[in-house]
């Protein structure tokens, strides 16, 4: 399979909230991934950093910040910003270099130190920035958008607050044994119901936290993997970073309005769905082939939307799928066996990389305490601001 790259190593710095410099988390993750791969840093020919706009100047130049911390080695570098999909875009940059034959082995790193409370726009007076304007003119924090999707789902598909709570209970149970998760205890439906409403109908425990954390991968050509004696590595066979198709008729952060569908019909697949299906097409698989999926559960309700977007069920079928137990560990296709954002909280530029770390450990059969039996094919998907999203298919 010439279009695949090997995942030689995966590493993370645990998620939490310490307020230390993000480079520290990225460095720890990078060293863990290099050790896992059995590759020395000076061997790395290309380093891709996942960037963020929040953790200050070095966050914009993540690739170089991590390369400097590891010790300048002359490796080529790039930094990728794509909001929540930054990590996948960095993986894609490394993959392209490898598949083009321009390098044999690359390091991908993302890390964040997230502020307390709501994410907020970059500071200063920025009346040309839609992200600044939605806070200024609407007071629309991220949970406001998550809540709009959740309420819509209740109205159109009959989702209930109990369904949303059941997603949290499931993911909390999955994350209990994950040493890298920030929250590792069971949560009951009553605890979700009793937590304060942040944006009706979503409670505090329906919404993912903002976290510190770091994640890294060592990627290589299949030849390089073989030269290191790794004959059957986890492989990335599909990766999509597609943009929406006009008209984008689903309200998205940080938009004030959707595109109009007056002059052009909405695309056959809405944006989130198109992200996953582009990766399926590239990998030559379909949703029926999945052993597991890591989806971006910014809210409990959004996890249900993802079930449909990635094709686990028809639109409107997510509640039944959840209630059947199919998406819990032990079910047909466990979703977020890592515990998902519910247990991690979001460390934006690290998160898409962390998802692929989980796929890697699951596909190796090394996800202790949360292992999906005989995992062969995994999907990781996310969506971020400004029309970004990503999907990664990994196989063993």
């Amino acid at each position: 399979m010439t279009d695949a790259v090997a995942v030689l190593g995966a590493g993370m710095h645990p998620w939490g909230k310490w307020g230390r410099p993000f480079v520290e988390y990225g460095l720890a993750a990078a060293r863990a991934a290099l050790a896992d791969a059995g590759v020395a840093w000076p061997e790395i020919q290309f380093v891709a950093g996942a960037a963020t706009i929040r953790n200050g100047y070095p966050g914009f130049v993540a690739g170089a910040a991590f390369a400097q911390a590891l010790g300048w080695s002359g490796a080529r570098v790039c930094s990728a910003y794509a909001a929540c999909a930054s990590g996948a875009q960095a993986i894609d940059a490394a993959r392209a270099q490898i598949l083009a034959g321009r390098c044999d082995v690359a390091l991908v790193v993302g890390a964040d130190a997230a502020p307390k409370g709501f994410f907020r726009p970059v500071g200063g007076d920025r009346p040309d920035d839609p992200d600044w304007l939605r806070f200024r003119l609407l007071g629309a924090s991220n949970p406001v958008y998550f809540a709009l999707y959740a309420r819509r789902r209740m109205a159109v598909h009959g989702a209930t607050l109990d369904d949303f709570a059941a997603v949290k209970v499931k993911n909390a149970r999955h994350g209990r044994a994950n040493p890298n998760a920030r929250y590792r205890k069971e949560v009951t439906a009553e605890e979700v119901a009793d937590s304060p409403v942040v944006a009706d109908p979503l409670r505090l425990l329906d919404i993912c936290a903002t976290s510190d954390g770091g994640a890294a991968l060592v990627l290589s050509s299949m030849e390089f993997a073989r030269s290191r004696g790794v004959r059957s590595p986890v492989r990335i066979t599909g990766l999509s970073t597609v943009t929406p198709a006009f008209p984008k008729t689903v309200l998205d952060l940080p938009d004030f309005a959707t595109d109009s569908a007056l002059a052009a019909a909405p695309p056959e697949r809405p944006f989130r769905s198109s992200i996953a299906h582009a990766a399926y097409a590239e990998a030559g698989i379909g949703p029926e082939d999945l052993s597991l999926a890591e989806v971006y559960d910014l809210s409990t309700a959004l996890e249900l939307d993802w079930y449909e977007d990635i094709g686990l069920c028809e639109p409107g079928g997510a509640e039944d799928l959840l209630r059947s137990g199919a998406t819990a560990l032990g079910g047909r296709v466990p979703v977020n066996p890592s515990g998902g954002l519910a247990c991690f909280g979001e460390a934006v530029p690290a998160q898409a990389i962390a998802q692929v770390c989980e796929l890697t450990w699951q596909l190796r059969g090394r996800a202790e305490g949360r292992q999906v039996p005989d995992a062969r094919v995994g999907l990781a998907v996310n969506q971020g601001l400004f029309g970004h999203g990503s999907a990664v298919v990994a196989v063993r």
Partner: protein
Amino acid sequence: MSTTKQRRPAVEGWFAVRDGAVRLLGTRCTVCGTPYFPRNDLACRNPRCAAPKDGSELEEHALSPRGRIWSYTDARYRPPPPYVAADPFRPFAIAAVELEAERMVVLGQVVPDVTADDLAVGMEVELTEGVLYEDEEAQYTVWMWRPGARAEEDA
């Protein structure tokens, strides 16, 4: 609350009173008909539109002042700056409203005396103007949705 304060829009050119009704001001492509809000003066973004795409195809367009709620929520906690919150903070509702004529969904705060419990998906709402925040000099206004459309304005 002072009533002698000046009222000023919190943002220039996004909404106006036209023929006694508050209207959102956007633009519209004269070639394919696609409306835009907030206004787009750069180029029509419909990739299949044959307009010159130099901005000359875009004209000002006042959007429909009425629509139906696509979804709604509220903000129970003080949003971070640059939102200017009253002290003490008062939760407010937000609605995403589907405009039938424009075939698009537009966000807006809901007038202060209406809570999320008063709203429902599919409910008819109309546009009005409300105070977003105030300082010593002036009240700064923004477009807001309120339930119910007046029958005499139905055309």
